[in-house]
């Protein structure tokens, strides 16, 4: 376990590093004009990045030690389906939570 000054150093460096990651493109590029193909690619950043973050969490959850869990797979499917159908983010979250707890009770 890291303690004392080393821990404080770690916390401050993690804070600075995370801030620089956040500032990166916003701070450097600013309002310099960008070619259309770059803008097109940037529009796909969210839909290209988020599933890559979510997929391993869904398929190999930490809570089960990385074992595939049918309740979590089904809940994830329900979230995407409701989100697509209703276009409602909060509806999808609520539906996913219900599906997850129902699934955990069954499996």
């Amino acid at each position: 376990m890291i303690t004392g000054p080393a821990l404080w150093t770690l916390i401050v460096l993690l804070g600075i590093g995370t801030y620089l990651i956040r500032l990166s493109f916003l701070g450097l590029i600013g309002d310099r004009p960008m070619p259309p193909w770059v803008l097109r690619c940037l529009r796909f950043v969210p839909v290209a990045g988020i599933p890559a973050i979510a997929a391993p969490l869904v398929v190999w959850p930490d809570a089960t030690g990385g074992a595939v869990d049918p309740a979590r797979l089904i809940a994830a499917g329900v979230v995407v389906w409701i989100g697509l159908r209703t276009q409602s983010t909060l509806g999808a979250i609520a539906g996913g939570a219900v599906a997850l707890y129902l699934g955990l009770a069954i499996f």
Binding site: L14, G30, L39, C41, I50, V80, I93
Partner: protein, 233 residues
């Protein structure tokens, strides 16, 4: 002025429901940090300076595993690399505001403020830059105080809160729910599918690297599909 104030208000209203996601996450972090042996001041410093739950939990876990400082730092920062993508995606919308305002917005660039804002900006291209900044600030305003306060409450309450089952799933559910409404368009669906599949294929690579590769391939997929569809019509 009226329009700007209402942009902030609309952002705020959109952000409020995400308190349900942020509050338990911050509480859990406060509890977990206290259990790991961090002082309340150290726990709070982390939540205020980093504001990124997943990387804070990563740091905590690795510290408890006895990892050296540099390893903890590297792995926790890798978890936050996705925010470089957020930063890039916001450039077309917020790039024109003065640097100090962009520097301030960068501190507040978290999963929820980014996802909520980008959806609105893409749905309403006629929004002015000033209105977009107000909307972004409005969306994050209800969340940051809750993040601080709930971390503190968790750290002080310590082990009084029983460990809940399946709380881990709050994060992926939120992510999927934010992205799902955009999947009606074929290029977006293709990009999302490539992204998820490749993230699983590259799972064995060092933390953060698989994510970057999967995201780059997915961006290419989406952009090429969209170009192809436009040429066909």
């Amino acid at each position: 002025m009226q329009a700007l104030r209402s942009a902030y208000g609309q952002g705020f209203v959109t952000g409020v429901p995400f308190v349900i996601v942020v509050a338990p996450f911050a509480l859990l972090f406060g509890v977990a940090a206290t259990e790991a042996g961090l002082a309340v001041s150290e726990t709070m410093a982390m939540s205020v300076l980093v504001i990124a739950g997943a990387s804070q939990f990563t740091a905590l876990q690795l510290m408890q595993d006895g990892a050296p400082v540099l390893v903890v730092l590297g792995a926790s920062l890798a978890v936050n690399l996705r925010m470089a993508m957020y930063s890039a995606a916001l450039v077309p919308h917020l790039g024109a505001v003065p640097f100090w305002q962009r520097a301030f917005a960068a501190y507040l660039l978290v999963d929820q403020s980014y996802l909520v804002s980008i959806r609105r900006f893409e749905a309403e291209p006629e929004m002015t830059t000033a209105a977009k900044l107000r909307y972004f600030l409005g969306a994050v305003s209800p969340l940051i105080p809750v993040w601080y306060a709930c971390t503190w409450a968790g750290a002080v309450a310590g082990a009084a809160i029983p460990p809940g089952t399946a709380r881990d799933f709050a994060v992926p559910i939120t992510f999927l729910a934010l992205i799902a409404p955009a999947l009606r368009a074929l290029p977006h669906l293709g990009a999302a599918a490539v992204s998820a599949l490749l993230a699983l294929v590259f799972a064995g690579l060092p933390a953060g690297l698989g994510l970057m590769l999967a995201a780059l391939a997915a961006i290419a997929t989406g952009a090429l599909l969209e170009t192809w569809l436009e040429r066909r019509t």
